[in-house]
C-alpha cells in the first residue's frame, strides 16, 4: 500500500513540485490580471468597464479544459517562440482564474456601504484617496474569505493540466502505469493523489477560517 509512494518517491516529488508550480504561477497571474480587470470593472471609464465585462463574461463561460486546449494545442500553431507546456498551462489557468479574482474584488468593493465613499468625498478627498484610504481597506476584509475559495478552486483546477501532458499529480497515474517496473496500480496512485488534495484543501480551508475570524467585519 505504501510501496506506491516509497517506490516512486522521485515521481511524487516532481509531481507535487509541478502542481505547486502551476498553482503559484497561476495564482500570481490571476491576482495581477484579476486586480487590473476588477479595477476596470469599477472604473469611471465606460470603455474600460465594457472591456472588463466582456472579458469576464466570455472566459467565465468557457470550460477550463477548453482554455487549456487553446493555449497548449493552439499556441504552437501561431509560429511564436516555443514555450513549454508547463508555461502555457500556467498562463491558461491564470487567465481563467483572473476572471474569478476580478469578480471577487468587484463584489468586495460593492459591499462597502455607499455612505463610506460619500462621506469620504464630502470631506473633500480626491478619488485616489477615497479608494486607498476609505474604500479599499474595508473591501479587503470582505474579499479575503471568497478570495481563499478562489484559490482552493484554483488548486483543484491544476489537475486539468494532467490532460495536457503536464506532469503534475493527476498525471502520475499514467506515468506509473506506463513504466512497468514501477510499483502501484492506478487505484492506489489515484487514491493517494486524492488524499494529497484533501489534505491541501483542508489546510487552505483552515487558513481561510482563521483569516476570516481575524478580519471579521464588525459593522
Amino acid at each position: 500500500m505504501f510501496d506506491v509512494i516509497f517506490g516512486n518517491l522521485d515521481l511524487w516529488g516532481e509531481a507535487i513540485a509541478n502542481t505547486l508550480l502551476v498553482f503559484f504561477g497561476g495564482a500570481i497571474i490571476a491576482l495581477v490580471l484579476g486586480v487590473v480587470v476588477g479595477a476596470m470593472r469599477v472604473s469611471s471609464v465606460p470603455i474600460a468597464r465594457a472591456v472588463g465585462t466582456v472579458y469576464v463574461g466570455l472566459v467565465r463561460n468557457t470550460p477550463l479544459t477548453l482554455v487549456f486546449f487553446f493555449f497548449v494545442f493552439g499556441y504552437p500553431q501561431l509560429g511564436l517562440p516555443k514555450l513549454d507546456n508547463l508555461v502555457l498551462g500556467i498562463l491558461a489557468i491564470g487567465i481563467y482564474t483572473a476572471t474569478y479574482v476580478a469578480e471577487v474584488i468587484r463584489a468586495g468593493i460593492n459591499t462597502v456601504p455607499v455612505g463610506q465613499a460619500e462621506a469620504a468625498r464630502a470631506i473633500g478627498l480626491p478619488f485616489g484617496q477615497v479608494m486607498t484610504l476609505v474604500v479599499l481597506p474595508q473591501a479587503f476584509r470582505s474579499v479575503v474569505p471568497p478570495m481563499m475559495s478562489v484559490f482552493i478552486a484554483l488548486l483543484k483546477n491544476t489537475t486539468v493540466a494532467a490532460g495536457f501532458a503536464i506532469g503534475e499529480l493527476a498525471a502520475l497515474r499514467a506515468t506509473i502505469y506506463d513504466s512497468h517496473e514501477r510499483p502501484g496500480n492506478p487505484m492506489e496512485v489515484l487514491l493517494w493523489v486524492a488524499v494529497v488534495f484533501v489534505v491541501l484543501v483542508l489546510l487552505m480551508s483552515w487558513l481561510q477560517n482563521r483569516l476570516e475570524n481575524r478580519w471579521r467585519i464588525a459593522r
Binding site: P146, K156, G163, L190
Partner: protein, 304 residues
C-alpha cells in the same frame, strides 16, 4: 452601485477619462490585431484549414458529440439535484449519527478535484474488477461533486430562513417532515434558485473534463478533428469553443434573469437581504458574492 465612488466628472476628469478610454481601446485593439496578424502569418485563415467544416458528415458528428455532452450534463444535473437534496436533509438532521457521516461525505466530495474523481472511476475501478464506461464515470463524478456543492447551497438556503417559519410550522401541528417539505424547502429553493442555476453552469463546463478520460463529447471530437487533413487545431477549437460558450451563456443568462427576478420580488427581498454568501465553489471557482454578512455559514463548513 459603483457610480457613487466618483463625482460627476469635471472638465479635467472628462479629458482624463477620454485619454484612458482611448488607451484601453488601443491596448485591446493592439492585442487583437497582433493575434489576427499571427493567425494570418501562420496561415490560419487559409481555406485548407477550414475545409473540413464544409463536410456535412463532420457537422453530423459534431451534433452527435453535442448530444453526448448534453446527455452527460442532463443526467448529471438531475442526479446532483437529487443527491444535493438528500445530503442537505441529512446534514440538517437532528440525529448526530446521520448528520456526522453525511457532513464528512459532503466535505470529502467537495475537497477532491472532479477530474481525480473521474479518473478514480474510469482508471481506478478496473483494478478491483469493475469496468465502467466513460459516460458513467463522467456522470457519477459530476453528480458527487455538484451534489455536495448543491447540498451546501440548499442548507444555507434553509438556514437563512427566519426561525419563525419553522416555529410556525410546528405550531400548526406539522411534523418535522411536513415543516421541511411544505414550509422550509419551497422557500429555500426559491431564494437559492439563481445560485442553483449558476452551479448548473459549472456542471455544464465540467462535462468538458470528460475529454481527458476519453468520453466522446465535444472537446474530444475537437481533438479528433484537429488531427484530420489540414490539421485545423485552432479552427476546431473555435468552432467547438463557440458551441460551449453559447450553451453556457444561455444558462448564465437564465441565472441572471432569475437573480434579477428574485431581487425584485417583494416576498424574497427581506430574505435575500440576510442571505449570506453562499459558498459555492466551482471546479472552478465561484461566484461568491462577497455579501454583507459573508461568512455567516462558513464557520460550520470547511469553508469553500
Amino acid at each position: 452601485m459603483t457610480s457613487v465612488l466618483y463625482d460627476v466628472p469635471g472638465p479635467r476628469a472628462v479629458l482624463r477619462n477620454r485619454i484612458l478610454g482611448v488607451a484601453t481601446v488601443l491596448v485591446v485593439l493592439g492585442a487583437i490585431a497582433f493575434i489576427v496578424y499571427r493567425f494570418a502569418e501562420s496561415g490560419q485563415f487559409s481555406p485548407s484549414k477550414w475545409y473540413i467544416f464544409t463536410f456535412s458528415a463532420v457537422w453530423e458528428q459534431i451534433l452527435e458529440a453535442l448530444g453526448n455532452t448534453l446527455a452527460a450534463f442532463a443526467l448529471a444535473a438531475i442526479l446532483s439535484l437529487v443527491l444535493g437534496f438528500a445530503l442537505a436533509i441529512g446534514r440538517l438532521s437532528e440525529h448526530a449519527w446521520v448528520r456526522v457521516p453525511v457532513t464528512a461525505v459532503t466535505e470529502l466530495f467537495r475537497a477532491v478535484p472532479v477530474l481525480v474523481l473521474m479518473m478514480l472511476l474510469y482508471y481506478g475501478l478496473p483494478v478491483i474488477g469493475i469496468k465502467m464506461e466513460p459516460y458513467w464515470a463522467v456522470v457519477i463524478a459530476l453528480m458527487a461533486y455538484n451534489g455536495s456543492v448543491l447540498a451546501e447551497v440548499f442548507r444555507a438556503g434553509v438556514e437563512s430562513l427566519p426561525r419563525g417559519q419553522k416555529e410556525a410550522g410546528y405550531a400548526i401541528g406539522l411534523r418535522k417532515n411536513g415543516v421541511m417539505r411544505l414550509i422550509l424547502l419551497p422557500q429555500a429553493i426559491r431564494a437559492m434558485l439563481p445560485v442553483i442555476v449558476a452551479q448548473l453552469v459549472v456542471t455544464m463546463k465540467d462535462t468538458a473534463l470528460g475529454f481527458i478520460i476519453t468520453y466522446p463529447e465535444l472537446l474530444y471530437y475537437a481533438k479528433l478533428l484537429s488531427s484530420q487533413q489540414g490539421r485545423p487545431i485552432l479552427q476546431s477549437a473555435f468552432v467547438i469553443g463557440g458551441i460551449y460558450v453559447v450553451m453556457c451563456l444561455i444558462l448564465s443568462g437564465v441565472a441572471k434573469y432569475l437573480e434579477i427576478r428574485t431581487r425584485h420580488s417583494p416576498k424574497l427581498k427581506a430574505l435575500a437581504a440576510d442571505n449570506a454568501a453562499v459558498m459555492h465553489e466551482g471546479t472552478d471557482t465561484e461566484i461568491i458574492a462577497a455579501q454583507r454578512g459573508a461568512g455567516k455559514f462558513d464557520g460550520t463548513s470547511t469553508g469553500a
